[in-house]
């Protein structure tokens, strides 16, 4: 957990402050320095357009992290709302919602993201939407399950007995019973979205060039793999550190919530 937070702080520091510290514009080509090897001026060398790979990695981190974190919020919000509504209303509404989300779950996740991006076109907002849609069924299932269990808890029944409405019951009494496990899931989802976004941009379907993300900086690196393998190192390392920190945080919260699990991974 401590390691996770430390890593997360490091990643956040570099992606927020980093781009101001590097004396290169991530979009500015420098035709006098194409394919430069790593040096003090260019820590990770330059790419085929003479753009500083280190600067692009730092700037790409901003885009990648914003997409992954925003999409996580979107998917959690949609899924939680739908899950709470289904559990609260029950009956026909519940059955209908379950059917719809089951159908979405029948798509392999990555394919769903691909199709939504293909339909909407690439871009930051479109990628966030695609990830949000793809992640929602999972949260719906999770929240609906938790909320149905919570319905029968004493304090929830008591709240209902003294006249709390469905909205108040759901948000004040049902939701807090599973906020912990939900937070664990949030961290896991954010890590997963980071990887999916990287794959999308790698395929050229995510955020469009020249805006750097870790995915399309890696795509550039693939083209130059034989010539300058170090270009793949920076974005890979940054991406790995980010997902690792999120996973460690998720594990930490899980252990804190369930002392029996302590020490087992």
């Amino acid at each position: 957990m401590q390691w996770g937070l430390a890593l997360a702080t490091l990643v956040l520091f570099f992606t927020i402050v980093g781009p101001w510290l590097v004396p290169h514009d991530p979009l500015e080509p420098d035709y006098r320095a194409l394919y430069a090897a790593p040096s003090f001026m260019h820590l990770l060398g330059t790419d085929g357009l003479g753009r500083d790979v280190f600067a692009r990695t730092l700037a790409g981190g901003r885009v990648s992290l914003v997409i992954a974190l925003t999409a996580t919020c979107v998917t959690a919000l949609l899924g939680t709302l739908a899950g709470l509504v289904a559990a609260q209303l029950g009956g026909r509404w519940d059955a209908a919602l379950v059917r719809i989300f089951d159908a979405l779950l029948a798509f392999p996740g990555f394919l769903l993201v691909l199709l939504v991006v293909a339909a909407l076109g690439g871009g930051t907002v479109q990628t966030i939407l695609a990830l949000g849609v793809a992640g929602t069924p999972l949260y719906f299932r999770l929240v609906r399950g938790f909320a149905r269990t919570a319905r029968d808890l004493d304090h929830v029944q008591a709240a209902r007995a003294i006249g709390a409405g469905p909205l108040r019951t759901s948000l004040r009494h049902v939701l807090p019973t599973f906020l912990g496990p939900l937070t664990v899931q949030l961290a896991t989802t954010a890590a997963g979205f980071l990887l999916v976004e990287a794959s999308l941009s790698y395929l050229g379907l995510g955020v469009s060039l020249p805006t750097p993300t870790w995915g399309n900086v890696l795509q550039d690196a693939r083209a130059l793999l034989m010539r300058q393998p170090w270009a793949a190192l920076g974005p890979g390392l940054a991406l790995g550190m980010s997902t690792l920190s999120l996973q460690l945080i998720a594990d930490g919260i899980r252990d804190a919530l369930d002392p029996k699990r302590n020490g087992t991974w």
């Binding site: 059917r99 719809i100 089951d102 159908a103 979405l104 029948a106 798509f107 392999p108 996740g109 990555f110 394919l111 691909l114 199709l115 293909a118 339909a119 076109g121 890590a191 990887l195 990287a198 794959s199 790698y202 395929l203 050229g204 379907l205 995915g215 890696l218 690196a221 693939r222 793999l225 034989m226 393998p229 793949a232 890979g236 991406l239 790995g240 997902t243 690792l244 996973q247 087992t264 991974w265």
Partner: protein
């Protein structure tokens, strides 16, 4: 068991109809005008209209939806806009590459994942256990294509024992195997890690069971303890394994791109770029069919291995 199968199939049928309807809606939502693509971008309005009638696109949505189901049931996925030949033909050409890759990656990740997970779970806290933890942590923290880069650098560039990209022209099974080795390992790295984690957790849980403790207390050999754990832990692992198999078809998309393999995934990406809707649809239908079938297989396998699961 028969009742269970009947219920699973009925539920699957409903899901299938819903999913295919979603595919239809998604294909309607994809940008690009088929008639325009068919007649050429600079065709006259009349020519475009003629193409629209020829493709049956002037009919109302409901009619097209019904026709679409009719074609689908007969196994007709339409013609590619770009190549002007049946999508099923293209799929059949592409499938061997993706199928072989998926199969190789699947076998590798199941053997590795189950093996590492079981051994780590039987020896918690050992050096081996910690080694597996390290592997699964890294294996799940990076995108799979990045491992592909590393493998390429090591085994195709720095120490060129395996081919860099593409497929051999002709050549026997040996040549194919050499070309599919690195892609299959790339695909297997995160999947084996995921499975190893799950297996380890399941094994740990079942090791605490009363009957395993009894075996240990009576001084039974390690192999007996292993058998008791394996018998109870296995059914719970069927579902994740089947799900992994179902997801592999889409997992190959990125890896085919890294290694320049002409499979279904590469076809899908190309079709998305060219707005070739029938091809996108063909790949989608195929992926969804495999995924749904594997889900059913998971349920059946679980029910076969664990009678309690048949009740639900």
């Amino acid at each position: 068991m028969v009742a269970f199968l009947a219920r699973s199939l009925a539920s699957l049928a409903v899901t299938f109809v819903m999913v295919m309807t979603l595919v239809f809606v998604a294909m309607e939502a994809l940008p690009g005008d088929a008639a325009m693509l068919r007649s050429g971008i600079d065709a006259s309005a009349a020519a475009t209209d003629a193409a629209r009638r020829e493709l049956g696109l002037d009919a109302p949505v409901i009619v097209r939806y019904a026709q679409w189901w009719g074609d689908l049931v007969r196994g007709d996925l339409g013609d590619s806009f770009r190549e002007r030949r049946p999508v099923t033909t293209i799929l059949v050409e592409r499938l061997p590459v993706t199928g072989a890759l998926a199969l190789a990656a699947f076998s590798l990740s199941v053997v590795l994942g189950l093996g590492l997970g079981f051994l780590a779970g039987m020896t918690p806290g050992s050096r081996f256990d910690r080694g597996v933890l390290g592997y699964t942590t890294i294996g799940l923290a990076l995108p799979e294509f990045w491992f592909g880069f590393v493998l390429l650098l090591v085994f195709a560039i720095a120490w060129p024992v395996l081919p860099l990209i593409g497929l051999p022209d002709g050549g026997g099974a040996g040549a194919w195997l050499r070309h599919l080795t690195l892609p299959a390992i790339t695909l297997a790295i995160p999947r084996a890690a995921q499975l190893a984690r799950l297996t380890r957790a399941t094994v740990l849980e079942h090791r605490q069971a009363d009957w395993v403790r009894t075996v240990r207390a009576k001084g039974g050999p390690a192999s007996l303890e292993f058998r008791h754990v394996a018998a109870n832990a296995s059914p719970g692992l069927f579902a994740p394994i089947a799900l992994e198999a179902g997801g592999l078809l889409t997992g190959t998309i990125v890896v085919e791109q890294v290694f320049g393999l002409p499979g279904v995934g590469a076809m899908l990406i190309g079709a998305i770029g060219a707005r070739d809707v029938p091809v996108v649809q063909g790949a989608t239908v195929l992926a969804v069919l495999v995924y749904v079938a594997m889900n059913l297989l998971a349920d059946v396998a679980l029910a076969a291995g664990d009678p309690r699961a048949r009740e639900a």
